[in-house]
Symmetry: C2
Subunit: 259 residues, 2 copies
């Protein structure tokens, strides 16, 4: 069955959505079958994969509430092998509704279990989380096999990492003992500037093998691609952004083979 990977970090704007879209797309180009689940009411992963806001039938909200099954909701993107469960701002109200229920942290996990048969055809599912340790993110961490966390090469982002690791430990103790830290990916990196280099050396010194060797550079095509509803590996496959995400995908697979 597919490995469920939560892409989470409560610090805002660190590259969660960009990583979910482009790591997913690069793996699809390598022949894997990938599901991206948009767990953010902002719906950025949905827009970035070309799902126009008015064409999103069933969404993550209906999957969480049990009205729709996971795999039936998955829609084909322009890239073969890459599928999306879109979200809209309606997901915001699902957050409120879940809050009062006893099973509130297990809605996603239950939806995955219910559809386990149909999910067998996928290799990986990436859950794009909102910038907050709210119920939507907790649901993703409770359902995931592993957590992949983008780390923006900035001071505030480095500061937030310890909070994320603490939260991860709590989740492991309380709702999901199997959750493991998959890795940390440096994003928006500019090797000419001291701050970026300082963040990288700090992260590698403290987190060692957890930090991916691949570093995603700051590259304007990564900001342009979503406005065309395309992953960067489709929008501009020779760009530094596309090259970096293909390298990341290769390392992501290598790490699994070594285990």
């Amino acid at each position: 069955s597919p490995e469920i990977v939560a892409i989470a970090n409560q610090k805002g704007g660190v590259g969660k959505t960009t990583t979910a879209i482009n790591l997913g797309a690069a793996l699809a180009q390598f022949g894997r079958r990938i599901l991206v689940l948009d767990m953010d009411p902002q719906g950025n992963a949905s827009t970035g994969l070309g799902a126009d806001a008015d064409k999103r039938g069933d969404t993550t909200r209906e999957v969480l509430s049990g009205e729709a099954s996971l795999v039936a909701t998955a829609m084909q993107t322009q890239l073969p092998g890459l599928f999306l469960i879109p979200s809209t701002t309606d997901l915001h109200s699902a957050d409120m509704v879940m809050a009062s229920q006893k099973e509130r942290v297990y809605f996603l996990r239950n939806a995955i279990k219910k559809d386990a048969e149909n999910l067998l055809e996928y290799d990986f599912a990436f859950v794009d989380c909102p910038p907050s340790l709210n119920l939507l993110t907790i649901n993703a961490l409770a359902a995931a096999d592993s957590l992949l966390s983008p780390l923006q090469s900035e001071f505030f982002a480095l500061e937030g990492l310890s909070q994320l690791i603490l939260t991860m430990r709590e989740i492991r103790k309380s709702v999901n003992p199997m959750l493991k830290m998959e890795g940390i990916v440096l994003t928006m990196h500019d090797s000419r500037n001291n701050l970026s280099r300082m963040v990288e050396s700090d992260a590698r010194n403290t987190l060692k093998q957890l930090v991916y060797e691949t570093v995603i550079p700051r590259n304007v095509t990564l900001g342009e691609a979503p406005s065309f509803g395309k992953p960067v590996v489709v929008y501009d496959k020779r760009s530094r952004g596309a090259v970096a995400y293909r390298e990341l995908a290769a390392e992501f697979l290598r790490r699994r083979e070594q285990k």
Copy 2:
């Protein structure tokens, strides 16, 4: 009494904290008395203003729960005229506690009312909000006179603006009829790149006078300054970031004189 300005945008990493710190600091240098209230459990505004995590006595959490008064909690920063109400990750649990109370959206407003006498000495209070439309942000919008929203010069950020404006309308209808849209500030702008220019022209065409003339450029000193616990106007006063925030402060004051 001071004008309460909420600095909010549910899109992550758009420059909310950087604007709260540096607009506040520039106004303090112009002789105004400024209070920055950190409403984000990440505590970035607190770190960026030099309040070490282990030296934060009473914080926003105690102010919201009524255990401490607003002005008594305010701590002097290194810059004369600039005061801070710090936060820690404890604020997360306050969010949970508030959720079950009837007055849940008015905790901040009640704290401000209770301390109205002592607040008279301040000219402006800036509330730095987390990247989410959660109870902490709603409390800030319910208590604020105006909303100042940073707009990162990126596609996803532009997309999120309509959601923010919808939320603002709902708040005006339900909890705070006096709340007005103060303005929108373009941040991390790079005039050499098409995407930045596209976002700027889109924003100015649709939002007209709401968009500040002053545009904050992408400038690495804005990322470096928080690692020294200083506003950029103190850390490197001749940098493009410092110049831009001083210009923003001047325009912020001009907009008020013209009204």
